[in-house]
Amino acid sequence: MSTQRTVLLKVFRFGPDDAAPRYDQFRVPAGPRTTVLDALLAVRRLKDPSLTVRHSCLHGSCGTCGMRVNGREVLACVTRIEELGDPVVVEPLAGAAVAGDLVVDMEHVYRRLEPVGRPLVRASERAGKKDGTADAGPVLEDLERFEDCIECGLCLSACPVAGDPRFLGPAALAAAERVLEEPRGADPRAVLGLVDDAHGAWRCHTAFECSAVCPAGVDPGEAIMRLRGRLLRDRLPRLVGRYHREVRP
């Protein structure tokens, strides 16, 4: 006799036409390898096809299924239900506008990444033609990514101070540190100027929540601290120089 376990999901529901969010409860079958995303897709298939969920790769590399499960940011496709207890509370990422149920508008992630130049493509690794000449087409340049960040937005949701839209946030600051580490033609002074701001690297409160939830091992917290070290090394000689020029000439 088969005794398949079931799990109770408490799912955040909120649509453009709703006055207020609510939590719907669904009991779905769950095996030892069932992921949160499997369970949500089971809800769509068996209980409520109107549940809005976003996903793509199903193996943790596209970053589209980021959500909060029992209060922690995870990629639903690689988070097993078995490890979570019962019930399992599923909510959208924090700090982002909800497009529908568990889907948030990712504009707040991309808007923060753009100014630092999104250092995601190595010039040396851009696809070339077979005859060795550079491929003039922009398509692969735009699509290929060679860095670890999958732009899932988990770090922004977990950061205790990223609720302020002026804060550049962990992903963008980690990207800035990457640019400074390996500029690949970018202007390091411009990037340093961008992050040397009250809402840039100095806004971080060293909670390291971003590093704890990052599914791609980027460790934004440590990157931000390295960035601050750079800024201090850059600032101190200038401050000392100014002191000698202006205070003790």
Binding site: V53, A212, R230
Partner: protein, 131 residues
């Protein structure tokens, strides 16, 4: 999959996230504790100044206040104050070190060390205050 519509996106309720550290990691708890002890110390500073103004009402008023603060409940508050001060100072030192790019990979160990030191300071203070 249902495509997200930017026009239809609705902002979530704006509440400072640091106010709810449940389920969070050690770093967030340290951040919240640092902020709360900081706010507590600022509140204490103003309270202290207000209480000092009792001196303006003469020695009897001041002696009465001192007598009141020798009661056990206020001595317990003194210990709380010492604990908050020690944590805020030592964790602030940790944050300054880590935030300057130093000992970044040891930030958890530094927090544990700060917590142990706070415990020791509180024990010493308890012995001295309650003796």
């Amino acid at each position: 999959m249902t495509q997200a519509s930017r026009q239809g996106a609705r902002p979530q309720r704006r509440r400072p996230r640091w106010l709810d550290p449940r389920g969070r990691h050690l770093g967030t708890w340290a951040f919240v504790a640092n902020r709360l002890t900081g706010l507590g110390l600022v509140a204490y500073l103003y309270l202290h100044l207000v209480l000092l103004s009792t001196l303006l009402r003469g020695p009897e008023a001041w002696d009465g206040l001192v007598e009141l603060f020798r009661r056990p409940v206020f001595l317990a508050f003194d210990l709380l104050l010492v604990a908050g001060l020690a944590f805020h100072g030592l964790n602030g030192l940790r944050v300054a070190l880590v935030g300057s790019g130093l000992l970044v990979d040891r930030h958890r160990a530094l927090l544990v060390a700060a917590a142990i030191l706070v415990g020791l300071v509180v024990v010493v203070a308890a012995v001295r205050i309650l003796a």
